[in-house]
Each structure stands twice: as structure tokens, then as C-alpha cells.
């Protein structure tokens, strides 16, 4: 496995560079919006990657709730964290595209609002995991993740079932896209998915190491003989 990581890292780097070239240079320019439409090649793949990560988080949380499996708990934590990063990219690139096209940075449209709610749910998930010291934290986080994941299909299908200001889906739902643009979109999605997998892998290894160190330190503290000043007699008095 140690050899696979650098190979995957190099492949991801090459793929991301190629995807960037395709997005900025090779992809045809959209007639109405012009070059600003190219933001779509970063915005949409980031959203899809975030959705996949949140779904993995959902399944890992279910596994944790049923079997109390620690590896599933780590997978849930890692995918939520990386998912929030990708969701942040979506929430930043969206308004940058909207400003020249709609003339406004933000509107309380259903798709946009639900995406912001999704981001807030997973940020609160991470805050819970970071600041709660209770032994029940993984359990509470798993329950929150299961309810939070309900927002993912709502975000995705909101533009299918409701009339919103957000553009209609480019794949499925009656949408259509130039095949060359679709090719660039899928290349970028593949590149960002590989990048997300690589980051998740690193974060997983870091979390495993973190827990091992915490357990060792806790064990050390338990085994360490108490100093005479703090030692107490069986009756509870000092000395």
C-alpha cells in the first residue's frame, strides 16, 4: 500500500493538470455566457464529489450505529471533513459565477439555500466531533449524519421538481450539453474524485495514528505511579 499512494498522487497530479488544460483551453466557449461558463467545470464536479462523500458518510454512520465499528466511525469523520471542503468550493464558486451572469452574488433560491443548509449541517457535525468530549460523541455524530444526509437528495433534485433560478441539470432531467463540454466535465470530475480519494486516504491514516497516540498516552497516564503528594490513604486522607 505504501507504493500505491505516491503512484496515485502522481496520477492525480497529472489528471488535475490535464483537466485544468481541458477546462481553460480545450473546452469550447459557451455562446451566451462566454468564458465565465468555464467555472462550471470546477463548480459541478466539486458538488458531485461532495455529494458522494456525504453519501459515504451516511453509509459509514449506519454501519457505526449497527456494529459500533471504529473504522466506520473514522471513515464517517474523514468523508464529512473532506465533503465540507468540496461543499465550500461549491458555495464560493457559485456566487463568483452568479455575479456576472445574474448580476447578483446570492439569492435565497431553493437550490442555493438547501446547499447552504447542507454545508451548515456538516460543519455542525465537525464542530460536535471536535468539541464534545463525551464518550457518546461518535454515536451522536452518526445520528446527526444520518439526518443530515437527507438533505443531499433534496439539494440534488430541487432543480428537477421546483422552478428555481439555478440552471437546470445538464445530465438527465431533460437537460442537454455539448459532447465536448460533457467530456471536459467528466474529466474534471474524475480528477477531483481522485484528489478527494487521496486526501481522504491521508486524513484516514492521520486519524488512525491520532487515536493510537491518544490511547498510548492514556495508557501511560494510567500505568504511571502516582507521586507521594497526590497519593491518598484508603480512608481518603492525604499522606
Amino acid at each position: 500500500m505504501k507504493r500505491v499512494f505516491p503512484i496515485l498522487a502522481v496520477l492525480t497530479g497529472v489528471l488535475l493538470s490535464y483537466a485544468l488544460y481541458e477546462a481553460l483551453i480545450a473546452a469550447p466557449t459557451e455562446q451566451t455566457m462566454g468564458d465565465v461558463q468555464r467555472i462550471f467545470y470546477y463548480h459541478v464536479p466539486s458538488a458531485w464529489t461532495a455529494f458522494i462523500l456525504f453519501f459515504i458518510n451516511f453509509f459509514a454512520s449506519i454501519v457505526y450505529l449497527i456494529w459500533r465499528n471504529n473504522k466506520a466511525d473514522i471513515v464517517a469523520l474523514v468523508t464529512a471533513e473532506v465533503g465540507v471542503v468540496f461543499c465550500t468550493v461549491v458555495l464560493v464558486t457559485g456566487p463568483i459565477w452568479a455575479r456576472p451572469v445574474w448580476g447578483i452574488w446570492w439569492t435565497w433560491d431553493l437550490r442555493l439555500t438547501l446547499t447552504l443548509v447542507l454545508w451548515l449541517i456538516y460543519v455542525s457535525y465537525l464542530v460536535l466531533r471536535r468539541f464534545s468530549s463525551s464518550g457518546q460523541t461518535p454515536l451522536l455524530a452518526a445520528v446527526l449524519a444520518v439526518f443530515g444526509a437527507l438533505d443531499v437528495p433534496l439539494v440534488y433534485f430541487s432543480i428537477w421538481f421546483f422552478r428555481t433560478q439555478h440552471p437546470q441539470p445538464v445530465i438527465g432531467g431533460g437537460g442537454s450539453i455539448d459532447p465536448r463540454m460533457l467530456h471536459v466535465l467528466l474529466i474534471n470530475w474524475l480528477a477531483f474524485s481522485c484528489f478527494a480519494a487521496l486526501v481522504c486516504w491521508s486524513r484516514y491514516r492521520l486519524e488512525v495514528l491520532r487515536r493510537e497516540v491518544d490511547e498510548t498516552l492514556a495508557l501511560e497516564a494510567l500505568l504511571e505511579p502516582r507521586s507521594p503528594q497526590t497519593r491518598t490513604s484508603p480512608t481518603g486522607s492525604a499522606g
Binding site: 481553460l24 465565465v36 467555472i39 464560493v92 464558486t93 463568483i96 492521520l206 498516552l217
Partner: protein
């Protein structure tokens, strides 16, 4: 083009900031392990 570059730069700033936070956490953990090893060596 300004908005296009702004979006692409913002994307990579976010990703690099997150990678930086991972690196910082990893360095902190490595220091903790080094301190722990020193403590164990001193005891022995």
C-alpha cells in the same frame, strides 16, 4: 476572465488551506510521538 480566474484560484486556495491544516496536524502528532519516545527513554 477575472471571475473565471477568481473562481479557479479560490478553489485551489481552499484545497491548499485544507492540505496545510492536515500537514500542521501531522507535524503536531509527530512532535507528540517524539516527546513520548524521549520520556520513555528517560525512564529506562
Amino acid at each position: 476572465m477575472t471571475y473565471l480566474y477568481a473562481a479557479y484560484i479560490a478553489t485551489w486556495v481552499i484545497h491548499i488551506a485544507y492540505l496545510g491544516s492536515l500537514l500542521r496536524r501531522y507535524t503536531r502528532l509527530r512532535n507528540e510521538i517524539a516527546e513520548f519516545k524521549t520520556r520513555i527513554d528517560e525512564k529506562n
